[in-house]
Symmetry: C2
C-alpha cells in the first residue's frame, strides 16, 4: 500500500491482534464492500457505486464538454475546484514506451466512441504536464482532430502565488510564450 | 543581510579577525566597488555598470517590447530562460497599501514616459502572480490602456512537470479557465 513501509505494516498487523472480533469484522466488511460495490462507471470509467457515476448522472452538468484525465485522482482534484461543470473521461494511465503502456491499454477507443456517438463540442485534454502526459495529449489531439470539435489543453504557466525568482525555466518559458492579452 | 542570523553574523565577524590585512582590504574594496560602480540603468532601472545596462545597449534585442518586472531578480530569472528578446522595465517594488507603497514610489511615471516617447508595440506585465503583483498589473493595465499598444500578462497555469493531484485549487481554476486550443 502506498506510503506504508515495513515498520508501519508491522505495527498495523499487531494492532489488528488487539481488535475485538466486531472491529476486525467491520474492517473485513469495509474492504469487501469496496471491492463489491465500487465499480467503474461504464461511460467515463470514473468511480461509481454500481451503474453510472455521480457526474455522468448529474443532469445539471454540461454533457457537451469532456475533460480527459489520467486517473481518478485527477477527477477528485478538478471536482475540488468546482469551476468545471462538464463530464470526464478517465484514461487509466498514459502512453509510456518505458512501462509498455500502449494505446490498447488505455480507454482511448471508448473516448473516440463517445465523441462519435454523442454531441461533444469540446474535449479538454487534462493529462499531466509532464513528458508522458504531453505525449498522450499529442496522440489524442491527432486522433480527435478529424472529428470536428474544439480540442483544448489546460493552461501552462506560473502557479497562483508564485514568484518569478523561484520558477523553473521551463515554466517561465511557457509563461512567456503563452502570455495573454489583458482585458477590462 | 538576507538569510544571515545572529549566530552566522557572529561567526562571520570573528572570521574577519583572522583575515590578513590584504584579505580584509579586498573585501572592503569589493563592497566599495559595488556601491561605486554598479548603478541603475537610467532607462530600464535594471543593474548596470555605469550608463545604460547590457540589455538596453544590446541592439539585437527587440526594442518594441517591454517586460515590466518588480525587481532585478525577476530580470535575472527571465534572462536565464533566453526566450525573451525584448527590453525590461524594473518597477522596484509593487503597490502595497499595507507597506505604504504608492504609485509615486515605483518607476511608473518613467514607464509611461518610455511608452509615450519611443515605439513600443507590446508591454508584458510580469509582476508576480500574487495579490500585490496582480493589483499592480491591474493598475498598470488601466494606465497604459489608452496608449494604444498590446498589453499582455504572463500565463497562469500548471507548472511544467506538475501533477493535477498536487496542484492548488487557485492554479487549477486558472488552468481550466485559461485553457488553450491545441494546434498542429
Amino acid at each position: 500500500m502506498p506510503s506504508i513501509g515495513k515498520k508501519t505494516a508491522t505495527r498495523m498487523a499487531f494492532s489488528i491482534l488487539d481488535y475485538s472480533d466486531d472491529e476486525a469484522q467491520a474492517l473485513i466488511d469495509a474492504i469487501a464492500d469496496v471491492k463489491k460495490n465500487i465499480t467503474g462507471c461504464p461511460v467515463c470509467f470514473g468511480i461509481s457505486e454500481g451503474g453510472l457515476c455521480s457526474v455522468c448522472t448529474d443532469d445539471k452538468r454540461d454533457s457537451s464538454v469532456i475533460c480527459v484525465v489520467e486517473d481518478y485522482r485527477a477527477v477528485v482534484a478538478l471536482e475540488r475546484v468546482r469551476d468545471y461543470r462538464g463530464l470526464y473521461h478517465v484514461l487509466h494511465g498514459v502512453l509510456s514506451a518505458l512501462e509498455g503502456v500502449g494505446t490498447e491499454k488505455l480507454r482511448i477507443k471508448e473516448l473516440t466512441d463517445r465523441v462519435n456517438n454523442s454531441e461533444i463540442n469540446e474535449n479538454i485534454i487534462a493529462t499531466n504536464p509532464d513528458i508522458e502526459g504531453e505525449a498522450t495529449a499529442d496522440y489524442l489531439f491527432k486522433l480527435l482532430m478529424p472529428m470536428k470539435l474544439r480540442i483544448s489543453r489546460l493552461a501552462y504557466g506560473m502557479p497562483v502565488g508564485g514568484n518569478l525568482e523561484y520558477t523553473d525555466e521551463g515554466t517561465l518559458s511557457r509563461a512567456i510564450s503563452g502570455r495573454r492579452d489583458m482585458n477590462i
